[in-house]
């Protein structure tokens, strides 16, 4: 496998996981724009556990637990207490940025030395198995949404929460479950970044990937399978930066830093969004 394709896959996987999680939540009718913060928390926990001597697999699991807690916390605020999810998400980003920086400073002290963790070993396809499995996540979600009773309920919570409630089911419970799942996937996405391509922690290490994942969901029109090509596209665009650092094109490096954001913006402009969005997206639970 050539270097570029490998890097592109490694960079697509975190985006894909985070976007898949966000899609679950948005299909249930809520929205977490603090996905960047959740990814950051996942990245930090994976780093901290890895520094503690645990295996990369254990770090991944620890990040998933942290993500679960983050998702439930979001559900407490934005679903159960019905605070505006946009505001909760904005503040969550701020909190996650501050808290991970605080914790990192405590762990690393004032030393400027780079602290690295062990990365996931390569697996069957030349990339770590967890990364390969990430590409199955949208497929699983697609089948789950279409084929299972729980999947239909989740969709109902996003399309017609009143109807779900009239069946005697709790919209709050469904959306909270979705928030928990999205927290786990978002944190796993952040952790995977640390455990594959950038095995150290710096403040804001996720570099806006959570925001890109948000755009991916809109771009994919809330359809899980459409996340695959979209994430691969943005992952490849991001990979150009790494390619460039190794020396190459004459274009300024920062252009490639800006490129994922520009591509996502262009995609949104072309997609002319509202079509395909869950009808009750961002609504308060009845």
């Amino acid at each position: 496998m050539t270097g570029f394709v490998e890097i592109a896959l490694l960079l697509s996987a975190p985006l894909l996981l985070a976007a898949t999680g966000e899609l679950v939540l948005e299909r249930a009718g809520s929205i977490q724009i603090g996905l960047e913060g959740t990814m950051l928390v996942g990245a930090y926990v994976a780093f901290a556990v890895g520094r503690g001597g645990s295996s990369p697999e254990a770090s991944l699991a620890a990040a998933a637990v942290a993500g679960l807690l983050a998702g439930l916390l979001f559900a407490l605020f934005a679903v159960a207490r019905r605070a505006d999810p946009i505001l909760v998400g904005t503040v969550w980003n701020l909190l996650a940025l501050g808290a991970t920086a605080f914790a990192y400073r405590l762990a690393a002290g004032e030393t400027g030395s780079v602290l690295e963790v062990r990365t996931l070993p390569r697996g069957l396809f030349g990339i770590p198995d967890a990364v390969a499995a990430s590409f199955l996540a949208p497929v699983v979600l697609h089948l789950w949404l279409a084929r299972t009773r729980a999947g239909l309920r989740l969709t109902a919570a996003g399309e017609n929460p009143e109807a779900l409630r009239s069946l005697g089911l709790s919209v709050v419970a469904v959306r909270s479950g979705a928030a928990a799942a999205s927290g786990v996937l978002g944190a796993l996405g952040g952790a995977m970044l640390i455990l594959t391509v950038s095995p150290t922690f710096v403040e804001g290490v996720t570099a806006g990937r959570g925001f890109l994942a948000l755009a991916l969901v809109v771009f994919a029109r809330w359809k899980p399978l459409a996340l695959l090509p979209a994430a691969l596209l943005l992952g490849s665009v991001t990979a150009l930066q790494y390619r460039l650092q190794a020396g190459g094109f004459g274009l300024p490096y920062a252009f490639f830093l800006a490129l994922p954001g520009l591509v996502a913006l262009a995609a949104l402009a072309l997609a002319s969004t509202r079509g395909g969005a869950p009808k009750a997206l961002g609504s308060t639970a009845p």
Binding site: L94, F102, V218, A254
Partner: protein, 334 residues
């Protein structure tokens, strides 16, 4: 808002802060004293707090202007950076003509902030792209833009670091009181907060903006120019954040470097929320956040508690408020 809510949130936030201080191995009482000393304990400390409040007050007011008109402008960070970049570009043009240089900064920075918001305005009104998404992505583009500018077109050829050429000392705003960092920029920020408060509460334009923000369909049906009002508020919000970035360069840093902002745009939104989505409340919260920032820098120096505390505590306070109040808070708490 009930006094009990405020008290509850304040106590909860203080308790959480004390816990963090304990985690960092310091005594909460000592830390609190150090924090207060760092924020208000001397002329220099007060000056530091006031100086830091400029950007927070202005971005808080910027958030209020947009949110009250119903525009969720999460792009203040990017607009702040655009303003700072514009200031770094035009500020050094007239090293011996302070008036001209300052005028150029005060003109260019808001313009750059508004231009940074402009694509989101277009996307919102013409392509129905929610500003929440577009402004977040534009923030990423702005961050990359700063990275490029300080290594490319604006790079100081004399320095070793990737940073822009410095504004001359004659151009930089001088302290209001010798020995304190605060400049006239603070007064400008407070003046703009008061102006925004007056505009929103007491003028036909403010009434129209509040109507569009509260009930866009009703405002439109009543014959208010909804698109123009929303777009205008969005651009004005961008301009205020841009001015914040410009004044940061003109009053404090004197140049652009990378990374330039530690999330002042996001903190401005938090300050606006804590201030009940009013310009004066937002300004007061911004000042409080600035005191916290100045105090926790001292705290890191004196007691080894990481200064990131200054961004955790405001976030906790706002979360506490959201938890206590529940419901929708984007509209005002009139």
């Amino acid at each position: 808002m009930k006094a009990r809510t405020v008290l509850g949130v304040a106590i909860g936030t203080l308790a959480a802060a004390a816990l963090l201080v304990l985690l960092a191995g310091a005594s909460p009482a000592d830390a609190f004293a150090a924090l207060l000393r760092g924020a208000f304990g001397s002329k220099a400390a007060v000056g530091e707090t006031a100086a830091r409040s400029t950007g927070l007050v202005l971005t808080a007011v910027a958030a209020v202007v947009a949110f009250r008109a119903g525009v969720l402008n999460i792009g203040l960070e990017g607009q702040f950076l655009a303003g700072a970049a514009a200031a770094a570009a035009v500020g050094p043009l007239f090293p011996d003509l302070p008036i001209a240089a300052r005028a150029a900064v005060v003109f260019a920075a808001p313009l750059a902030g508004a231009l940074q918001a402009a694509p989101a305005v277009w996307l919102a009104e013409k392509r129905q792209v929610p500003p929440v998404l577009s402004t977040i992505l534009l923030n990423l583009v702005a961050v990359a833009g700063v990275t490029w500018l300080v290594r490319g077109p604006l790079r100081d050829p004399a320095g070793d670091y990737p940073q822009s050429r410095a504004l001359s000392d004659a151009v930089l705003l001088s302290p209001l009181v010798p020995g304190a960092r605060a400049t006239a920029a603070v007064l400008a920020a407070l003046g703009l907060a008061a102006t925004a408060a007056f505009l929103l509460a007491r003028t036909p334009l403010g009434l129209a903006l509040r109507a569009v923000g509260e009930a866009p369909r009703a405002a439109r049906a009543a014959g208010l120019p909804d698109v123009r009002l929303r777009s205008g508020a969005f651009l004005a919000s961008g301009a205020l954040a841009g001015l914040a970035g410009g004044l940061e360069v003109l009053a404090l840093t004197g140049r652009l470097y990378d990374p330039f902002s530690a999330g002042v745009g996001y903190s401005g939104i938090a300050a606006a929320l804590l201030g009940g989505m009013t310009p004066l409340g937002g300004a007061a919260s911004g000042f409080l956040f600035a005191a916290l920032g100045a105090g926790s820098s001292a705290l890191q120096r004196d007691a080894g508690v990481p200064s990131a505390l200054a961004s955790i505590v405001p976030a906790l306070a706002v979360l506490g408020l959201l938890l206590a109040r529940g419901g929708r808070t984007a509209e005002s708490s009139r």
